[in-house]
Structures are given as C-alpha cells and as structure tokens.
Assembly symmetry: C2
Homo-oligomer: 119 residues x 2
DNA sequence: CGACTCGTACGATAAGCATCGTAGTACGGG
DNA sequence: CCCGTACTACGATGCTTATCGTACGAGTCG
C-alpha cells in the first residue's frame, strides 16, 4: 500500500488552512485585474484548469506570480498533475468563511465587465 | 437669505463619479486593515463621522492618507463642515453598482472579527 | 536517451504604498 | 486679533509588488 490512489505528483504546494484565510488577503488578491480575471474564468468553468489554459496579457513568470498570490491568500487550490498544474477555486472554504461573498464578488465583476468594454 | 442651508464650506474634494468607481479599486481600498476598520465603523454608526472620531493605531497624517484612498476609490464621501471633515459611506452608489456586495463584505468582516480577537 | 512542454527560481527594476514627522492652512471662539 | 483645533502638504523612508528575462527542474512522449 505505498502510493495507491491519485498520486498528485511528488512536490506539493503550501496552502493556508481554512481558518488562516484572511478577508483582507482575499480582497487584496482580487484587487488586481489579472487575478480577478483568473478567478472569474475559474468560476465560469467550474472545474480545475491548468495554468496554461489562460491567455493572459503578461509573461509566464508573471502568471506564476499571480497564481501564487491567489494560492497564498486562500483563493485557489493548486496541485501538480504530471507536467500541468491544476487550479481550482476554494469555493467550499470561502463560502464557509464568508457566506455569499464570493458570488457577490463574481456578480459585481460580471456587471462591471458588461458595463465597460468586454461584455 | 445668503447662505441658507448646509454650506459645506468653501473647498471641496475630488470624488469619482459613480460610473467611474472600479471594483478593483474598492477591493484594494478595503484590503487594508485600517481602512476596513474605518468602513466597518462608518457602516455601524450609519451616519457621517468626522475623521477625529476614529481612534486608529496610526498617526494623523497616515489617517488622512487612508481616508483619501477610501474617497478616491469611491468608498466614502468626504466634505468639510467647518473645521471638521465629515465622512460617509457611499452606500447608494455602491449598492447601485454592485448590489449586495457591501453588505456581504461587512458581514464577512464582522464574522472574521468575531472569530479572531476583537469579538 | 533526447527533445519538448509546463511551470519555477532568481535577479533586476521600477513603481506603489504605508508610515512617520514637521510645518503649514482653514475655521471657529474668546 | 490671537489661539486652539482639525486636517493637509511635503518630504523621507523602507517595504511590498508587478513586471520582465533568462536559466533551470520535472514530466511526457518519441
């Protein structure tokens, strides 16, 4: 019974525990346009997405940086899966900590996107 | 009948119009502990408060800075009233732009405050 | 093994920001 | 008119951050 099931690949990444997630940190993470966009896309798809799925207006190293900020502030969960790194929203934890907040934020972001350009 | 009603005093301060308020800006403004605290207090009191009403763990110049950030990002409205500077939440504008968001944010902040120390 | 893809690490850079102290302006009251 | 109160302006400082480029590590597939 060594390494039976999912085998998420060797190295794993540091995530804050649910109780460690701070509202200020979440808000800071979402206050960047690139990161807000990532979260919106993650929410829209509803599934885990690899980093490379996103077509962002920044280089790869900057992309890595933004994903790390989102992870370190408890907004997303990241795990390696072979060569890809999968990203998923921490909906369960965020909804438990701050009921309804994530949905309102996403709605607000969608409304704003509709108002301005990218409708 | 000169100077009848409020007379908010000569100089006034630049505020963004409602349509100019950006979600990212609001989130950034609220991602600072001191500013989040100010907003929570403003919401709790429900009325306009002078800057000096707040007992914050920073100096007066830093306090001025935080109020300006809140104003410039459309979170609060500021107006001079004699020697005092009154501050009020822009509830109407925020609720119109991002329905329900402010309340969720305040609830989330309250929950977090209850969980950790300051209950 | 070798090549390719995905993502990271590290260093550099430039900008932003939270903080302070001091000096100054605006207003109201004696 | 002078003084006290309320807040600002300015400059300094040190920390954080968004961005990039290049070089590297980990996995997959031929």
């Amino acid at each position: 019974m060594t390494t039976v099931a999912p085998v998420p690949s060797s190295r794993d990444l540091p995530h804050p525990a649910r109780e460690e997630i701070r509202l200020e940190g979440v808000l800071h993470a979402l206050s960047d346009p690139v990161r807000l966009r990532i979260v919106r896309e993650l929410a829209a798809e509803g599934i885990e997405l690899s980093c490379s799925h996103f077509d962002l207006p920044v280089t790869k190293s900057t992309t890595t940086h933004h994903f790390r900020v989102l992870r370190e502030n408890g907004v997303i969960r990241q795990a390696y899966e072979g060569t890809a790194k999968m990203n998923g929203l921490r909906r369960d934890d965020l909804d438990e900590l701050f009921p309804g907040l994530l949905d309102r934020l996403l709605t607000a972001a969608a409304r704003q996107a509709a108002r301005h350009g990218e409708g």
